[in-house]
């Protein structure tokens, strides 16, 4: 079965600093989704990547999928308190319309 490993598991950064969260798969990724979750709440969709080398940005968040389609990264530039939360990557299981999630990365922004 496909497994997703996220690193780091938790991250504390000073407001204004840049940061990167990684998501690594044991198998080729056919679709990779990034979500953000506030503690105890639902998931908010951020971005979806499908093609090797693809990169998408929204405001100060950039997500990339490597050429081999086995690793994705989420980069936040000039972090703000509003970026705090849990970031989850989810891999689309080929032909099954379902997602397998990593364990999440808890991001804390210190003022």
């Amino acid at each position: 079965s496909q497994e997703l490993e996220q690193s780091p598991q938790s991250l504390i950064v000073q407001e204004g600093k840049n940061l990167t969260i990684n998501c690594t798969s044991s198998k080729t990724l056919y679709g990779l989704y990034w979500y953000k979750q506030k503690y105890g709440e639902g998931l908010i969709f951020l971005m979806m990547l499908q093609k090797g080398g693809e990169e998408k940005s929204h405001e100060k968040i950039t997500a990339k999928l490597d050429e081999k389609k086995q690793q994705s990264s989420l980069h936040i530039t000039a972090s703000q308190p509003s970026h705090a939360g849990i970031y989850l990557c989810g891999a689309l299981k080929w032909g099954a319309q379902k997602l397998v999630f990593g364990q999440g990365t808890r991001l804390t922004i210190n003022p």
Partner: protein, 114 residues
């Protein structure tokens, strides 16, 4: 467009009691998912419906969990009897139904079993 609705938002029960959660997906979304998210972990799929039929329930503990989507719209997830390890957030998500459609999630129901 209204998002995925779930109720209740919070529920506290004693072990061996029963509990039910409700989900109303985004209008027109054919596929509905129930996930269980234990604290500190990513969501784990319990069951997937396509309209009112079950597509995947391989990870649903069928001895105590049941789910239905009778008219292909709303869905309920039931636990009977509950165990301590069922304490988790139960998330509902929906998509239009194509393979790469984005899953949109509801706010979740936080269940505490004492």
């Amino acid at each position: 467009e209204a998002g995925v609705a779930q109720s209740p938002r919070y529920k506290i029960i004693e072990k061996r009691q029963s509990v039910a959660f409700w989900c109303n997906p985004i209008s027109g979304h054919a596929t509905l998912y129930w996930y269980q998210q234990i604290l500190g972990q990513g969501p784990k799929l319990l069951i997937q419906f396509q309209n009112n039929g079950v597509v995947d329930d391989s990870q649903l503990p069928k001895d105590r969990f049941s789910a239905e989507r009778l008219k292909g719209v709303d869905s309920t997830l039931k636990i009977q009897p509950a165990k301590l390890e069922d304490s988790a957030v139960y998330l509902c998500a929906s998509t239009r139904g194509s393979a790469t459609d984005t899953q949109y999630f509801g706010p979740g129901t936080r269940l505490t079993v004492l």
